[in-house]
Subunit: 316 residues, 2 copies
């Protein structure tokens, strides 16, 4: 019998489970070539400024396969007072095709699997002593990244950068309720000056952080850039880094910071390490408090598979 | 609020609606280039002899877009006592991406939209006086085709061909309950000898019907062949026909009877008319009781879109 799981239940299940470890296992399986991910399906609705993506796949010899349907209708807030993004995940039994669960997560699982990936990266690349956590971007992801980092670092000091004082104030208020101390800034340079663990969560199409600002011992996770156009980091930052990690080597050939850095000839693709491989090889973990490390995440379907699995295995 | 629609409700809605007309409108839209159908998504599970297909699309300027997920796990009956085929349809609002309905039809809608296509074809190509309806194949589709023909022809006389006496007896019993008189045969030639409206619904990979058996005034709808391997009709039957229709010209370049006939050089693609175009042009309808007409249906996503729409618009 198929289970319909509403957002509230999804949230409560996630609270009680170790999402980060399951996502981590997913990245290992992915880099180990145990994940089947066919090309993404796409429908575009020009008239309504909308799009729908269908991502699907499975881990070989696992219990499930997952189909994720995500939509973005960018006029929704203006026209209908509805969110731009929406989504659901369908989980099927890999043995016999039976539909096990319909996860009506409204896109929430995508946010969480993205935040959990930031924590996986930080587990291996963040400096031992995190002075302050720097966040670029005041949206949902900028908040969730901090929440998911709490199992990785005890640091509760945040510096947030945003486009307006209004935005950063709202962010500050929100995070302070959760027990963080938050400084706000509209000046980008303040972030790498104060913080040695930085997460960038913006849709910027121009580099925000400059190479000369980045001090030894800093880790940066670039979450925002997931297309060929978006870019948050000056490519020289990658050239200057000791370790450069991507979640998917194949995706980095068409999008993200690494794509920008390689196509502009600033780094060679040989230096780039895939996240699952980094996790499995101690030599690619942070070795000392002087290294500059960069992770460029564009998001892979195995994250959707793994987070859906958590819900499916804990529905009762 | 998303509506979850179970199979029983789906069946009752279909009973009270004119499925054939809605499917017909879909074919017209399709041949009019008003339907967007991206490439089919596919996952294969070699270990469990399973596959999953994702078909999706929409009619431009319509209210909905539809994603259909269908699976075939061929060891299911043997291993789990489950059906091989399963499926569901998701219906979204084309204006804003909202999920409107989850149709848990278990593959039933695919059966019905296929049967309805047979009726659409018969409406325009069947002889005025149907002597007997000939059915090749004793499965679900062989039965449904007859049921959906009842709004097109008053003929209640069926001749059914199958692989075994057991199969045809079961078919006879089933259809007689519904008020039909059914003759059974294991001899293929009996079908075109007795019947001038024939529907082939088998997974055969070798031609079953021969050209020399087909009499003037006969219409054949070939439902079974939907891959590059399957074939139910001797290609010479198509060469000898007055009208040859396919549901999708583009699909007929890679599968079905027309594909076989063109690639073997027996017919030219110029003679083939797309169903939606045939419907809209009287000159392609049956003109007299001497023409031999053939329809080769491989199934198009607009049928899934249209039948899902019927459910979605009649849920209350």
């Amino acid at each position: 019998m198929v289970e319909i799981v509403q957002l509230e239940k999804i949230k409560s299940i996630l609270k009680n489970n170790d999402v980060i470890s399951v996502i981590e296992e997913g990245f290992i399986a992915y880099s180990d070539n145990r994940v089947i991910v066919p090309p993404v399906g796409e429908m575009l609705f020009n008239k309504t400024n909308g799009e729908c993506h269908i991502k699907y796949g499975y881990i070989k010899d696992d219990n499930y396969y997952v189909i994720k349907i995500a939509s973005g209708f960018y006029d929704n807030p203006k026209l209908y007072g509805l969110p731009s993004f929406n989504g659901l995940n369908l989980v099927f039994d890999q043995r016999n095709g039976e539909l096990k669960a319909i996860l009506l997560d409204e896109g929430y699982l995508t946010n969480i699997r993205t935040a959990a990936a930031g924590a996986v990266v930080a587990k291996y690349l963040a400096p031992k002593q995190v002075k302050k956590i720097g966040i670029l971007g005041t949206g949902a992801q900028g908040k969730l990244q901090v929440e998911y980092l709490k199992s990785i670092t005890s640091c509760k000091k945040i510096v947030v950068w945003g486009l307006s004082q209004e935005e950063v104030n709202e962010y500050k208020k929100n995070l302070e309720k959760k027990g963080y101390s938050v400084e706000t800034t509209l000046n980008l340079e303040d972030i790498p000056t104060a913080c040695n663990l930085i997460v960038t969560c913006t849709p910027s199409k121009k580099p925000l952080l400059k190479k000369e600002w980045i001090k030894p011992g800093t880790h940066i996770t670039a979450m925002g850039s997931d297309t060929a156009e978006k870019q948050e980091l000056d490519s020289e930052i990658l050239a200057n880094a000791d370790i450069v990690v991507v979640d998917s080597i194949s995706q980095s050939k068409s999008r993200g910071e690494v794509y920008k850095a390689i196509t502009s000839g600033i780094i060679s693709e040989d230096i780039v390490i895939e996240l699952g491989k980094m996790i499995s090889n101690k030599q690619y973990h942070r070795q000392n408090d002087q290294q500059i490390t960069i992770a460029d995440l564009t998001g892979v379907a195995v994250q959707d598979i793994q987070i859906s699995k958590i819900i499916c295995e804990n529905m009762d």
